[in-house]
């Protein structure tokens, strides 16, 4: 089943791309990477939005957890009220888990396609679809610059690139976390940050993933490392783009709320885009707002603005 659903389609996709792109394996790999990123785009966007959203309502979540720690039923109800679904935190891992089969598959496929033994070539012949003429494709060019794409990079450049691009990508695709000195200013705030699962996950991923993948790229085939680098670069561009879009949306929403608050709006247009405000948790939020990050602070600021406008 694995072969049928993962290995054979990836193998044939790469061979087909290699064929139509003038027998250039790097080009084929690049197009394949772009295609897989596009395939994962909806999941990635959802993950990014979900992370930002969860981070923004983190004070409310903690307050509810604190308040109803002995009443899980009520806790769930309160979570629902503020639009938080704990299962969504798990779904945030989906893009990463969804890319795992491609990653594993590509690893095996590169061994097959670029493997320099008769046995791997024989295995390859057993997997090629009838529409692809392997006779015309062989030998598959596996050299690119100083690299043999079927072997690890002897100059260590790719592992470094994998680490750097993955680190930058994780930075761009994760919601911003509070600076260390901010947390240090408020001990309680620092503890809350550490207890925040999303932030903890984000922060751990920012460091462990690049280190791990950079480390293991030392023994991966160069082709796979190039896939990582390309994928990360696309991820960085995607992260930047999504961040801009979300900031623009946030600004538009804040502006609409302010307009409504000061009565400049006729009501109809803003009412369509308005998001229901979470139920206020005055006492707890008051304390937490000191330690939460910029986005929460800006939320509080806009609330204060609205209050003053009402006055």
């Amino acid at each position: 089943m694995w072969d049928l659903l993962i290995i054979n389609p990836i193998t044939n996709a790469l061979l087909w791309l290699y064929d139509i792109l003038g027998n250039n394996f790097i080009l084929a790999l690049t197009v394949f990477t772009i295609f897989t990123r596009i395939l994962m785009l909806p999941l990635n966007l959802r993950q990014q939005r979900s992370m930002v959203k969860t981070q923004e309502i983190q004070p409310q979540i903690r307050a509810i957890q604190q308040k109803y720690k002995d009443n899980p039923q009520k806790m769930q109800e309160e979570f629902q009220k503020i639009g938080y679904n704990p299962a969504e935190s798990l779904s945030g891992c989906l893009p990463m888990l969804a890319t795992m089969p491609i990653l594993f598959g590509l690893f095996q496929v590169l061994r097959l396609v670029l493997g320099s033994t008769p046995q791997t070539l024989f295995e390859l012949t057993q997997r090629v679809y009838s529409g692809i003429d392997l006779t015309n494709l062989l030998p598959i060019e596996s050299n690119f610059l100083w690299l043999n794409l079927g072997q690890p990079d002897p100059l260590y450049i790719l592992p470094i690139l994998v680490f750097v691009t993955m680190f930058v990508q994780t930075k761009f695709t994760s919601p911003s976390t509070p600076k260390k000195d901010d947390a240090a200013k408020n001990k309680k705030g620092g503890k809350e940050q550490a207890d925040d699962p999303t932030a903890a996950m984000t922060q751990s991923m920012q460091y462990t993933m690049p280190i791990m993948f950079g480390f293991f790229s030392l023994s991966f085939q160069s082709g796979l490392s190039i896939y990582f680098v390309l994928s990360n670069l696309i991820g960085i561009a995607q992260g930047l783009y999504t961040r801009r879009i979300m900031e623009a949306e946030k600004e538009a929403m804040a502006l609409a709320k302010e307009r409504k608050a000061i009565g400049l709006n006729g009501g109809g247009i803003v009412a369509e885009t308005e998001v229901p405000e979470p139920e206020p948790m005055p006492t707890i939020i008051e304390n937490q707002s000191k330690s939460t990050q910029g986005s929460s602070r800006s939320q509080d600021q806009s609330k204060r603005k609205r209050r003053s406008a009402k006055r």
Binding site: G115, S116, Q151, A200, M205, M212, L218, F220
Partner: protein, 400 residues
């Protein structure tokens, strides 16, 4: 390093860790697979079977010598070349550790006279990719083809490099020597004629498919035969490389044809065996190795229709063509078939416990096949009947 404090983070990290570990674990095992390499000097057998190389007496199957390098990550699959008590072998190479990913491939000269092995010399600075082809020893020179496109000429005594010839892609086929010329088939689709004295190119001919089969020289017709993945066998003029004739097969021709009594025999990946006139390429007969009479694993009756691709070269002796086939893919059994050289009629067939990728060898009245099987890496079958004569499994390290 930041340590996650939540189960979710830990789970995620665990998944990532397992994934990367899985990938790297795969990388170790995946790079070292091929079928065993088998050769003979007419009396003894020499086998490269993965972790080591060994020599044994064919008649008694007594182990003569065994060579295993200290590193457990090194693998041998190229058939050893043994001449005058010196075995030349090449390994598949290995990275020198996680922080030194450069693949290092070694060529070894072993003194195998008597029942001991002594390393005469080792060169690990000549090749950067696997040695798939059997080395060739002629007049004190060892010719070693590598998967990093090189044909190396080494002094067999000292290991000193005499010259090197570079093709455009990997060389998987053993070169063929004939009167001062080496004929080299490469995956780059070229057949090269190389001057054995200095490595200069005499001529090169591009065919329409890659080649992994050793070229075969026919001095009587002044032809050199090249079997190709372009589904043809080409006959080229020895002196100029110009094509004299070609004969089509049904599928890829992986291995070298066998030349005997003016007839050329070869098999293709669809399980067809061809006999053609070596002079003009006229097809004398064509036979399919598609039917398996005895399928021990599946116990099928009536006989199974199989694909039975042919990867190995046929072997011809005393009017019989012996063909090793991959056999039944479902039951993972190989097939050894004896055909009448005159008309291709099947004389007998034997089912082997694993597909047959390597070319068999004949010693005395036994045909020996090399396998990737737990039953044994070698099996001997009687030439007359195809009955299993013996199986051989190398001793474990503790028994040696």
């Amino acid at each position: 390093m930041f340590i996650a404090k939540r189960p979710l983070s830990r789970l995620l990290l665990l998944v990532l860790l397992l994934a990367t570990l899985g990938l790297t674990a795969c990388s170790r095992s995946a790079t070292a697979q091929n079928w065993p390499g088998l050769s003979t000097d007419g009396e003894n057998l020499y086998v490269a079977y993965g972790s080591g190389v060994l020599g044994l007496e064919a008649a008694s199957q007594d182990l003569l010598w065994s060579y295993k390098p200290a590193s457990a990550t090194l693998f041998f699959y190229a058939p050893p070349s043994v001449e005058n008590g010196r075995a030349i072998v090449g390994d598949f190479g290995a990275a020198q550790g996680l922080f030194s990913p450069q693949t290092v491939v070694s060529i070894y000269a072993l003194d195998v006279t008597g029942n001991t092995v002594q390393t005469e010399w080792t060169r690990n600075d000549l090749a950067k990719d696997r040695i798939v082809a059997a080395p060739l020893q002629v007049d004190g020179v060892a010719y070693v083809a590598t998967a990093d496109n090189q044909l190396l000429a080494l002094d067999a005594e000292s290991g000193n490099e005499l010259w090197r010839f570079t093709a455009d892609f990997s060389i998987w086929a053993q070169p063929t020597y004939y009167e001062g010329t080496l004929f080299v088939a490469s995956l780059d689709r070229h057949l090269y004629a190389v001057n054995a004295a200095d490595g200069s190119e005499k001529w090169a001919v591009e065919l329409s498919g890659a080649m992994s089969a050793q070229p075969i020289v026919n001095p009587d017709e002044n032809l050199v035969y090249a079997a190709s993945y372009d589904r043809e066998v080409h006959a080229l003029d020895i002196d100029t490389g110009s094509e004299v004739w070609s004969v089509p097969a049904s599928d890829w021709v992986w291995s070298a044809p066998a030349l005997a009594d003016g007839t050329l025999y070869f098999g293709d990946s669809s399980g067809n065996v061809f006999a053609v006139d070596a002079a003009n390429g006229d097809v004398l007969w064509e036979s399919g190795v598609h039917t398996m009479n005895v399928v021990t694993g599946a116990n099928q009756n009536p006989p199974a229709q199989i694909k039975g691709a042919i990867q190995a070269s046929p072997v011809v002796q005393d009017g019989v063509v012996y063909v090793a086939s991959l056999g039944n893919e479902q039951s993972e059994e190989g097939l050894l078939v004896a055909l009448d050289a005159a008309d291709g009629a099947e004389l007998w067939q034997a089912t082997t416990p694993a597909p047959l990728f390597s070319t068999p060898v004949i010693v005395g009245d036994t045909i020996i096949v090399a396998l990737q099987s737990e039953v044994g890496i070698l099996q001997g079958y009687k030439l007359e009947t195809g009955d299993l004569d013996w199986s051989y499994q190398p001793p474990q390290a503790s028994e040696e």
